[in-house]
């Protein structure tokens, strides 16, 4: 009997969907909008993460060494810095590279280049560029460098530019923390609004079938038998809306992707979508099915009171 009823519930679900086709289309479209909101939140999150990552990658601590420092001293200091657990990478720029970079940056400034030439020797020392594993860890590295510079008489550290970057690093730190909180709040808020709108549309479809529900109750149909077909219809709404959303996202991201990339976000949404297609199919389909089934479950409840 369980399988006979299950088969009938599924069949009635498809019949309900097909019979009120205009309401079904409306429900599918509303659910599609809800799913596109969820997808746009995923894309926004990716853009934000990518942009923050871009900014984060641009942040470093520059350690300028005195030009009297020899190779052994430089290598020793580099080892000590690399040994810090917060440090992700230490790159050395030799004094020759520093001079070349400076010359390149000022190639149109003849006066400056002439001044360098008049000195006769390379006035630049080597420099370290230090990247932390996490942006919040720069202050720890800066403290270490500060101690190195002040505690040792023969320190080869000339100056550290952390204090100049500190403000920018702090702002980025706050942005990352806020964006995480805002992202979670946004997902919850928009998901609830989507659920509410979809619920109201599906309620309309169920309202149109209230006569059928009353007949089902009169003939002693079980709650499962009455509710089942509407949940199946809700699942069909969700599935159709998921497929539609996944298709609609393709041309949108294809068109918008390069534009977003050109803004310096470091992410092309079209490529992001294609490379994460399995995740998108999973999240959008699961959300569609959940919204459809949950909305139907809640909407039919008021007709089931004994």
């Amino acid at each position: 009997m369980f399988w006979i009823n299950t088969k009938r519930i599924v069949r009635l679900g498809f019949i309900n969907f097909a019979r009120n086709i205009s309401v079904s289309i409306a429900a599918v479209l509303i659910t599609t909008v809800a799913l596109l909101v969820i997808a746009s939140l995923m894309f926004s999150r990716a853009v934000l993460d990518s942009t923050l990552s871009q900014i984060q990658n641009a942040v470093d601590i520059r350690v300028y060494l005195s030009n009297s420092a020899n190779n052994d001293e430089i290598a020793s200091l580099q080892k000590r810095i690399e040994a810090l657990p917060e440090v992700a990478q230490v790159s050395l720029s030799t004094n020759d590279q520093e001079l070349a970079d400076f010359t390149s940056r000022h190639q149109n400034d003849q006066l400056t280049l002439q001044a360098i030439e008049e000195i006769g020797a390379n006035p630049f020392g080597s420099a370290f560029s230090i990247k932390a594993k996490d942006i919040s860890q720069y202050s720890g590295i800066a403290s270490f460098l500060d101690a190195e510079q002040n505690q040792t008489q023969s320190s080869i550290i000339d100056r550290v530019n952390y204090s100049r970057n500190k403000q920018a690093i702090d702002v980025i730190n706050k942005m990352i923390a806020s964006s995480k909180k805002l992202g979670i709040t946004g997902v919850i808020f928009f998901s609830l609004i989507s659920l509410l709108i979809t619920f109201n549309t599906i309620s309309l479809a169920i309202y149109m079938a209230r006569e059928e529900i009353s007949v089902m109750r009169l003939v002693g149909a079980s709650t499962r038998y009455i509710r089942g077909p509407f949940i199946v219809s809700g699942l069909i709404y969700g599935l159709c809306a998921s497929i539609l959303s996944l298709i609609i996202i393709l041309p949108i991201t294809y068109w918008v992707g390069p534009k977003i990339y050109d803004l310096g976000t470091g992410i092309n949404l079209f490529n992001f979508y294609l490379s994460n297609i399995v995740m998108f199919i999973g999240v959008i389909t699961a959300s569609g099915l959940a919204i459809g089934a949950l909305s139907s479950y809640l909407a039919v409840r008021k007709y089931l009171k004994v």
């Binding site: 009997m1 007949v215 089902m216 003939v219 002693g220 149909a221 038998y225 004994v306």
Partner: protein, 226 residues
């Protein structure tokens, strides 16, 4: 079979639908309930169906308090009752066959049962030739006969008919009452709520007269007296 024990139903302090009703309906009985609109006939029928709960008192079906049944049991209980209404309550998008099969499917009956029983009940109500028609293609009397077929297809113990002839002409009304009598003769309890004096008088069965939520007359082989 059915026993109302001092049942009252109040919707508010000023609105009383039923007041201290005590009646019993025996197996195989045909009971007509008569009274003006608002007398409490429909509330009484809804109590039997378990759609309304008493404010006071209890309604028993075979010694079981209907209103203490859980959701699962109330559904099972309702399968033992067939209902017929003035407005037919047929599903317009289903054929005659499908409307009747719908009630059987909801009760979990097998496809084989449906295939054999639906034509059989349609034969009982003289509608074999309309098996594939939709409700919009039927007359009022035919629609009501489909509703009766749907009500009896699960072989209920009781048929509740709430103004089944209210929308019908005298000839169709007579046909419907004849069918209900035939069902009753086969052993099913029929409880009929009606305004139709001619029909009640012609039946010569038990008549319960209600007024303002109270039973004012209960006569075996009674007549319609208001």
């Amino acid at each position: 079979m059915i026993y109302f024990d001092k049942v009252s139903k109040k919707y508010s302090d000023t609105s009383t639908a039923l007041e201290e009703i005590t009646i019993s309906v025996e197996p195989k009985e045909f009971v007509s309930i008569v009274g003006h609109s608002g007398a409490g006939k429909t509330t009484l029928l809804k109590m039997i169906l378990g759609e309304e709960s008493p404010s006071q008192g209890s309604v028993y079906f075979e010694s079981v308090n209907i209103h203490k049944l859980g959701k699962h049991d109330i559904n099972k209980y309702r399968r033992r009752i067939g209902t017929v209404f003035q407005d037919f309550r047929l599903l317009p998008h289903l054929t005659v066959f499908e409307n009747i099969a719908f009630a059987m499917e909801a009760s979990g009956r097998s496809e084989e049962d449906i295939a054999s029983d639906v034509p059989h009940v349609l034969e009982l109500v003289n509608l074999s030739d309309k098996i594939m028609s939709f409700p919009r293609q039927l007359s009022g009397g035919e629609k009501q006969r489909v509703a009766i077929a749907r009500a009896i297809v699960n072989q209920p113990d009781i048929i509740i008919a709430d103004e089944p002839t209210g929308n019908l002409d005298p000839i169709s009304s007579r046909e419907i009452i004849d069918i209900l009598q035939k069902i009753n003769e086969l052993g099913t309890v029929v409880i009929l709520a009606t305004h139709n004096k001619e029909i009640v008088d012609s039946l010569g069965k038990r008549v319960i007269t209600m007024e303002k939520g109270k039973i004012i007359r209960d006569n075996k082989k009674g007549k319609f007296v208001m």
